[in-house]
């Protein structure tokens, strides 16, 4: 891999607390003195947050699709009837 990708992998190991300990310690030491690396770490951390948000959105779409099917498809009449009876009052 090219150098920039190796750096991303090293930052990932440090940010996600994975990989070998000596490697993470080296990255931590580099972060203390390298402002550009600090910036990269900040934006990489933000990227993971956005990836998680994207994952949540996709999962939410899946959940809604399943829910719609259960509440609208006639083959799930027993389930629908049960839920209706809970909120009938």
């Amino acid at each position: 891999m090219r150098t920039s990708l190796i750096k991303i992998q090293q930052l990932e190991n440090w940010l996600l607390n994975q990989g070998d300990l000596p490697g993470r310690l080296v990255t931590e030491a580099e972060l203390l003195i390298d402002h550009n690396l600090q910036e990269d770490a900040k934006w990489q951390r933000r990227s993971y947050e956005l990836i998680r948000m994207f994952g949540q959105e996709k999962l939410h779409e899946e959940i809604q699709a399943v829910e719609s099917s259960l509440f609208e498809d006639p083959k799930h009449y027993t389930f629908q009837s049960r839920i209706r009876s809970i909120f009938k009052n």
């Binding site: 891999m1 920039s4 990708l5 991303i8 992998q9 990932e12 910036e39 990269d40 934006w43 990489q44 933000r46 990227s47 993971y48 947050e49 956005l50 990836i51 998680r52 948000m53 994207f54 994952g55 949540q56 959105e57 996709k58 999962l59 939410h60 899946e62 959940i63 809604q64 699709a65 399943v66 829910e67 099917s69 259960l70 389930f79 049960r82 839920i83 809970i86 909120f87």
Partner: protein
């Protein structure tokens, strides 16, 4: 290759359906007895599923009770928090709440920008970091020749997203809520 994605997604959808059939009636009953309506019960249950999924998949958490019992507990806890939040909102109706973080770029708008690029990269990153898809399955899903190729592409995508996030955030005037 299609079979791998279908199996993973189908297992997930089947599990979600099973949770609705087995757990939702209990949650609905709990919410209804405490004055909640069906829509609130649905919203809370959807959020509870996401929390449970992330606990199991992202954190590798294994509850000491059944997953269904754990999900039920999460949903009940969500209801209690919802009630507390409702009470708090009522007591603060007269207070002008200023968003302390209004100067920060909106994550939702950033994500919308990333999504609008129609990029395959987000799909790859979501599959690896959120679905926790093993590299073998990820390679098959996205048509890579090897796991090595998939790994390199994953890091290239992460670099691309990181650069885009940095660029868009630094010109964040467009992203204030």
């Amino acid at each position: 290759m299609v079979i791998v994605e279908e199996l993973t997604t189908r297992v997930r959808k089947d599990t979600i359906a099973k949770w609705y059939l087995e757990v939702f009636p209990k949650v609905a009953t709990y919410v209804q007895k405490r004055g909640g309506d069906l829509e609130t019960a649905k919203d809370l249950f959807q959020e509870s599923i996401i929390i449970t999924y992330e606990k199991l998949t992202l954190e590798g958490f294994r509850p000491s009770v059944s997953v269904e019992a754990y999900l039920t507990g999460i949903a009940k806890n969500k209801w209690l928090k919802y009630c507390a939040e409702q009470k708090r909102s009522e007591s603060l109706d007269h207070v002008d709440m200023k968003d302390e973080k209004e100067q920060e770029p909106s994550k939702h708008k950033l994500l919308a920008i990333l999504r609008s690029t129609g990029d395959k990269c987000l799909q790859i990153l979501q599959a690896f970091y959120y679905e926790k898809l093993p590299m073998t399955q990820l390679s098959q899903r996205f048509g890579f020749k090897s796991e090595r190729s998939a790994t390199v592409q994953k890091f290239k995508c992460l670099e691309k997203v990181r650069d885009m996030v940095k660029q868009k955030s630094l010109s964040h005037e467009d992203f204030l809520d």
